[in-house]
Symmetry: C2
Subunit: 128 residues, 2 copies
């Protein structure tokens, strides 16, 4: 059992520890890759400005200018944020002339936000 530990994990091997729980947790654990992917998704949603962008795009397409005005930051800052969201495939865009219209790639993001709202027992006062 102990030899299934990676070499770096030696610092605690002498303490209380319920070895069977640790082994069970390892079996139940997500793969490192899955875990990284999920963490990066949540991290992307964990920035207040990005979260506002995502929530805004849930109800309508917006261009970079619109978002910058809505968020109250520079267009460059918004563009950087949008790139992150694009790389994670949370948003996609559509070009119309020189203007890029951004939207949510799928409904998972807004589902996650709504589910998270339940945790805080927030009301989703839809007034749009």
């Amino acid at each position: 059992m102990v030899d299934s530990l990676s070499p770096a994990n030696e610092q605690c091997s002498c303490r209380c520890i319920h070895h069977e729980r640790v082994e069970a947790a390892k079996k139940h654990a997500l793969s490192p890759k899955q875990n990284e992917h999920l963490a990066s998704l949540f991290k992307a949603m964990g920035d207040p400005n990005r979260l506002r962008i995502l929530w805004a795009l849930d109800s309508e397409e917006m261009c970079v200018c619109d978002i910058a005005l809505f968020i109250g930051t520079s267009e460059s800052a918004v563009s950087h944020q949008l790139r992150q969201l694009r790389l994670l495939q949370l948003v996609s865009n559509r070009r119309e002339g020189p203007v890029l219209y951004y939207r949510l790639s799928d409904s998972h993001v807004s589902s996650l936000i709504r589910l998270a709202m339940e945790h805080f027992k927030m009301e989703e006062h839809r007034n749009v």
Copy 2:
């Protein structure tokens, strides 16, 4: 319309902009407080180690030692992470003598993780 902007948001007022979309986004937007709460929840879940902890605690109680061995970091690091999760009320603990057993505070966290897995079309290979 424009006077509903906060004084700091002046940098984009001369660009293309679909003002009606910006106004609609503002109406639809979460309150700053709600937004901050949600962002902090997602941010907490956005660290790979914290996410592993949360996912592990979904299936069983673990003490700090267990978690440290499972994650492969020091108990102090785990304790710091657990404090953040406690302050956000994502986990709670139960004392048994000198040992603190941690568990998820409610089922929202694991629901969020499972929903996020759908975004990546991950399979939840339950082998525990």
